[in-house]
């Protein structure tokens, strides 16, 4: 690899990425261009540019990618009915290609030689970022500090990172370490590691109530059911309760509705692409409602053989998304089949949601059915 003059770094302003800016700058003698994507993680972005500059970034990009995320990533995946290993709704998996795509765009614009990310060498995210970079910008290098032995030796734990920041005058909030790690975006929030590494630990017990952010527990959900009507067109939800909405607005509305009724909580053990099993807890309130409603409408309007064929391919599709093969010819080929299967569909679907469960109570085809 040529010694880079410019590196684009995925930056959040947290402890890890703050360390990365400085560490990358020192190691590679490079200009660091920080990039933060707003994909619905509901984090404070005000002051992030100042923070990034203070930490040593020469430039920062903060892009609102929420609508693109909902329209071009979440919705096509909903059309596929994608669920990984029968349980995981792919909330983190589907976000990484979008972030990496924007990073390589910035890298090309800024004539940067490399992009860098803070994903560890033990997870799936490193693969998702790097396969996207390979597919979209083969000429750009990727730097993964966590896979650098020196980096791991320098920072065996949080304490060393906090000390490093203090020594370098990097502003970070030295908040108490959470007993798990979280990743949040428009589609979901995930909880992993820490106390959750024990698969026998009951994450649904009242003791862990405070962990959850997007939903109440079914036990705490309203006793009375709530009706919601969704309107779909060509496999995409275009209106909720009679109000036409963009994909982003649909997600935000259904997240709120689903969360209120305790919908979308999952506690699972999954198989990572890198080979080990991992325990994770997830909240996917709006996505769960969408997937369920989408299936209801397909049951009314989709040809049997098309449905069975698409369903037989769904686990493969989900695997591709999970592994990080979004910008890959095989995923795009499957997507073409899925889009074809969704072509003839105008419909309404009506729901009753109650305490963690959703029950449909009626489906109808709108008069404009083609």
């Amino acid at each position: 690899m040529l010694v880079p003059m410019k590196i684009v770094l995925a930056y959040s302003g947290g402890l890890d990425t703050s360390v990365l800016v400085s560490w990358l700058k020192d190691k590679y003698q490079a200009k660091i261009i920080s990039f933060c994507a707003d994909i619905g993680q509901e984090e404070e972005l005000d002051g992030l540019d100042k923070k990034a500059k203070k930490t040593g970034s020469s430039k920062i990009y903060i892009d609102d990618l929420q609508e693109e995320f909902a329209r071009d990533y979440i919705f096509p995946m909903i059309q596929a009915g994608a669920i990984y290993e029968g349980q995981y709704f792919l909330g983190t998996s589907i976000a990484r290609p979008l972030i990496a795509k924007r990073m390589v765009e910035i890298a090309r614009k800024e004539k940067a030689q490399a992009i860098a990310h803070g994903a560890t060498g033990k997870g799936n995210d490193q693969i998702r970022f790097e396969l996207t970079a390979a597919a979209l910008a083969p000429e750009i290098d990727v730097i993964a500090p966590w896979r650098d032995e020196q980096f791991r030796a320098d920072f065996p734990g949080r304490k060393e990172m906090i000390d490093y920041c203090a020594a370098k005058n990097i502003p970070v909030e030295a908040s108490a370490k959470k007993p798990y790690s979280m990743d949040r975006n428009l589609l979901h929030i995930s909880y992993e590691a820490g106390v959750l590494e024990d698969p026998w630990l009951d994450a649904s017990s009242p003791e862990h109530k405070e962990m959850y952010k997007l939903s109440v527990s079914p036990e705490d959900a309203p006793d009375a059911p709530e009706y919601v009507e969704l309107e779909f067109e060509k496999g995409n939800c275009i209106a909720v309760n009679g109000k036409k909405m963009t994909p982003l607005r649909v997600m935000k509305t259904l997240n709120k509705l689903g969360g209120k009724h305790g919908i979308g909580r999952v506690d699972l053990v999954e198989n990572r692409f890198v080979g080990m099993k991992s325990r994770g807890v997830y909240e996917t309130p709006g996505g769960s409602v969408l997937l369920f409603a989408h299936r209801q409408i397909e049951s009314l309007t989709m040809d049997r053989e098309v449905m069975h064929l698409r369903d037989s391919l769904m686990p493969k599709y989900a695997e591709l998304v999970y592994y990080g093969f979004w910008f890959a010819p095989e995923r795009e080929a499957l997507q073409a089949l899925i889009t074809e299967s969704q072509k003839k569909r105008f419909w309404n679907c009506s729901f009753e949601t109650i305490q963690g469960q959703h029950h449909h109570c009626g489906k109808k085809i709108s008069p404009q059915l083609v």
């Binding site: 396969l131 390979a134 024990d198 079914p218 890198v274 080990m276 099993k277 991992s278 093969f325």
Partner: protein, 78 residues
């Protein structure tokens, strides 16, 4: 499991035959040394190889700097 009003909620799982090993999954130090993070670099490189080759072959060529041309109609009018 916890059964509640139409919900089936996981409360935990365990087995003497469990293939889940928290020491391998954990981000803390792994006493088994079973997982070497450096291996991921090669794994990713090989998985991405066909994507890189595909991108190099199918990528649109970098746009050449276009010479400023007057529109045909504008030239004709003159």
């Amino acid at each position: 499991m916890k059964l509640y009003k139409g919900n089936i909620i996981t409360a935990g799982r365990k087995s003497p035959l469990s293939l889940y090993n928290p020491e391998i999954a954990t981000m803390e130090a792994d006493p088994t040394q079973a997982y070497n993070q450096d291996d991921a670099t090669g794994f990713i490189r090989l998985n991405g190889l066909r994507l890189k080759v595909g991108a190099q072959v199918h990528q649109p060529p970098a746009p050449k700097k276009a010479r400023k041309k007057k529109a045909k109609s504008a030239r004709k009018k003159k």
